[in-house]
Symmetry: C2
Subunit: 176 residues, 2 copies
Amino acid sequence: MLRYYANMTDEKTAAAGVAGLLRIQEVAAQIGATPRSVRYWEELGLLRPAARSDGDYRLYDQTDVDRLRFIKGLRDDAGFSLAEIAQLLEDEAARERSHEAYHATTDPSARLRILRDRAARYEHQIRMLRGKIERLTAMVDAAETRLARQNELAAGLAAEMDATAGGPTNNEEHPE
Amino acid sequence: MLRYYANMTDEKTAAAGVAGLLRIQEVAAQIGATPRSVRYWEELGLLRPAARSDGDYRLYDQTDVDRLRFIKGLRDDAGFSLAEIAQLLEDEAARERSHEAYHATTDPSARLRILRDRAARYEHQIRMLRGKIERLTAMVDAAETRLARQNELAAGLAAEMDATAGGPTNNEEHPE
DNA sequence: CCGTACTTTCACGTAAACGGTAATGTTGCG
DNA sequence: CGCAACATTACCGTTTACGTGAAAGTACGG
């Protein structure tokens, strides 16, 4: 028997079928992390596995893997701290509260508010990432400027070499 | 009297004029770091101030500030470790060796080789940064997909609300 | 049912990147 | 020259993000 976590049963079971659940080593390998890291992220409230086996093994479904992959990207590629990631992703406790609130009502306007909050969060994530991309782009531009300067100097030197080989030595300036 | 560091005198004095040198607190403020961090980066061999005062105060010129700003960006925006940054930037010891080698010869082909090495390094920096930008862009795309899904759901709910208000209740599906 | 590979929690260890403080020296304005 | 503001080295402390066992339990093919 599997114990799925409360209020996550619906689409999680749907997404994973009745099986398709992975153990921690498997998901860790898939996202390029260690089981220890995945457990640590859970400890910080970044995610919660879809289910536990009878023997309390963590069992992850595809949405878990997606979230883990996103977390990994936010750390390795965007360089966010786990605390920042928790803010960005909304920690698991808040997610479950939100999910529960969504299902606790059938009032479309209440549900709409919840969805809009979630959308706002995604928009915030996107803004943060875009900001990082912009700054990285500026850094690339700076590096390209430096590269261009090197290439100009190199071209000057090459010209000097040609001149020396083909005619009288003309001593130009050669900064660095 | 100022003691400029050997083999850095030429363009550093030129860039800074005879003065224009800043103390550590000033440069730290300019790049948004603490003096402690700047000293730590120096300790790891990431840079060396242009000069020291008679009383051994670190004195930085504009090229130092640029380099420090780049280091800060590589840490905060690109999320590189200081060790990785040392690789990327070529640590100060290697820089000085390269600089010295450049000036130790007047042979254009030898100089050309040095410049090409430096250019290759810049190109490597650019490739690394571009890789990061690509992965971040993929993450933005993923976030936008999630956002779009939310917005679709929200649109569905809004339609449901209109229908409920304007006519008979039509019960559609409403996943989350 | 047995062994092996995997998993659990708990706990201690550690590398990186500084923060903070102490003891001391330097700058530079009035 | 006197003093406030800043600097230096040295060193210990802290936080983050795990690594690395230990001790015990679980999953499962044969």
